[in-house]
Amino acid sequence: MEKTKTRNSLLRNAGVQSLLASLLCILIGLLVGYLVLLAINPAGAGKAIATIVRNFFYYPSPSAQMKYLGSTLVKTSPLLLCSLSVLFAYKVGLFNIGAAGQYVVGAGASLYCALALDMPWYLCLLAAVAAGALLGALSGVLKAYCNVNEVISCIMLNWISLYMVNTLLTNVKEYSSPYTLTLASTNPGALIPSLGLGSLFNNNQYVTIAIPLAVLVTVVIWVLLEKTKLGYELKATGFNKDAAQYCGMREKQNIILTMAIAGGLAGMAASLLYLTGFEQWSCTQSAVPAMGFNGIAAAFLGGLNPIGTIFSSYFIQHITSGGAYVDKTMYSSQISDFISALIIYLCGFVLFFKYALNNRLDRRAEREARAAQAAANQEGGER
């Protein structure tokens, strides 16, 4: 009896529940992905799914593994900030689907500052934060003063930002390709410094202080939400904006501030990727980069906990990178995106699994209470 009680209470722990639900989502996602691969081409399915999970272990030599672990990490840091952006807004009761657009303007601002205005990396980074924050605040203002649903305004702004940034960055693109000029050739000062971190990953030049910076921001966001007066206010506004208004919090201002912070995080995310030189912006792209949307999945998979998102972001980036190694002779080249999308999609079910788990526990507790009662009755009867 005592034992079941402790087991139950462990399962009831919110953190443990989130972890279990997340792991379950991952397993189901991989399973469904495997089934789809089986349906397309049974011969290579097992190998393909293993490739996705293995990611950089695809390479036999430890030094290559290190190098590509580094590359995965380089892309994890922007994803982490995007998921923080979604998470932060969500805690205040807002759904920041605009992280994608804020990411785009962040990329635009940082690249333009770097390539056209020759600014050093930290100014480019600040410009990205400011651009994202401004775009987020715009959605916030619309929500607070005109009661425009933030989801609608964010989605529209996503597209507006994409084409604006494409137009803006056409000024700094390479002559013969749609890609922006490389930072290394145009303005090396705009590259985020590595401070020797790259050498830890077999001289992966893209591994920079962006990675520890992202983790640091995560901790700051956690502190902000859990330890400060502002966090207390913002969360109260998110849970119950009428009560927040009643006790004198300025709920309109809080909504705008929240969206600005969320936007700033997404904007910064873009600069942490583009200022490493890892990718160049394609000025002809006609789809909003998936990074901001993946942030939604990472936020939920991480149990809406800033620290949890560190792990979930890594996982999502891990399988996304892994997908690139799938044998393209057996599967079409979209398959990697497809599989990772499936898994990411299932990650959204974390909350559902938590709910189901709690229901089960409730039912079991009820059954046990009944059994205990029956036993007590019987004892009483025998006496």
Binding site: K229, A236, D242, Y246, C247, G248, D362, R370, Q373
Partner: protein, 510 residues
Amino acid sequence: MEETYAVEMLNITKRFPGIIANDNITLRLKKGEIHALLGENGAGKSTLMSVLFGLYRPEEGSIRMGGREVSIKDPNDANALGIGMVHQHFKLVECFTVLDNIIMGVEPSKYGFLQKAEAREKVVALSDKYGLRVDPDAKVEDISVGMQQRTEILKMLYRENKILIFDEPTAVLTPQEIEELMEIMRGLKAEGKSILFITHKLNEIVAVADRCTVLRKGAYMGTVDVADSSKEELSRMMVGRDVDFAVRKKARAPGQVVLEVEGVTVASKMHKNNAVKNVSFQVREGEIVCLAGIDGNGQTELVHALTGLVKPSAGSFSLRGVDMTRDSIRERSKLGLSHIPEDRHKHGLVLDYTLEQNLVLENYWKPEFQNRGFIRFKAVREYAQRLIEQYDIRSGQGPVTKARSMSGGNQQKAIVAREIDKDPELLVAVQPTRGLDVGAIEYIHRQIVAQRDQGKAVLLVSLELDEVMSLSDRILVMYEGEIVGELDPKTATVEELGLYMAGAKRKEAV
């Protein structure tokens, strides 16, 4: 031999994790009687009725009708057995007419076309027979609460239900409407309907019920014949101790003016007219002024304007001579305004916050509780523990209990503690005891009187006449956004108050 019972609930036990909501409860409803079900909040009345209505399955016990055991798995089964219920919160479609609402779910149709004329005749006949005045073609959103309730009753009669459950039906009615409802219930009884009447108002039980079953904390306390019992006995059974009905108040001369309301007009969100029209009054030190009136006559809007939740379109409020009409809510709070809100779930609490987080909702920003933007958790905990002890707020895990999981009475105690502990100049209390049980009501009344005795000004808004009469020093009656009368509770009668509330009587310029 004819069966004497319409329905028998025998030895019903229903458990939820951690509590026994119904512990071996037996309730036998005779044919053609009005049977009251009395108990405090959380006594298990709703659970028992949910079992009868098929919303919960009991672990033990059985339900018998006509001598046979029946199984009620869902509300459809209950309906088929002739059990109908008027819920506390009406289940009506606002934009439908009364007739549409009544026939909803059992619409008479031919070849898929509605046969409304037929239904209409039946409804009119029923409403004549039982004296249930309704306008079948009026939209529900346009009719009074009393008529909405009559619509609900007609719904049950239309379905030819034999057993009618009334869940706290008088909470939303005026004294006259309550009297009318009692008359309707007697009429239904005379027609052979059996009525289960859930309430915690003893006066109504004495007025209309034949027998009364009392529950306390999930346990069965007994069934008594109302004629052989008294209010005192019933309340003792319900609460488990003697209850002091009288509010003890020392005579006290009011002092200086604390709140001055001048010519306040507030626009309505519901309709084009103003909700509050040119209202002026004062509240002074050491007095409890009560704004009485039927729900929806502008009290809510007036309080929202006074506390800063909405802006008045004209007029001014001043607190101790300081004009605060344009001040923010926080500034009003700093001036000494405390507000126990009407809707504790909407405004009063952040339900997903813990008790301690809720207790500092009004003062988390003070240097006591934060240092350069960082919350001082230790100070918050100590403060919460002091309030919990001082105001006897009970909860599962003390300061870290989620407000959502606390009982209504303790949630309200937490709000009262928070607002009173601010040591305000003016306490605005809106329906501070709504939905609470006798014990909690007694406690909150004492706290409010204590504030008055300390020389604080109290503005009370209440729909409960007993509360209005016993607590206040002065009564202002609001009708359609205006103050139509000022009464002295020592000399006024409930009937007189009711006439003012219904707009049948008014005094010129207060």
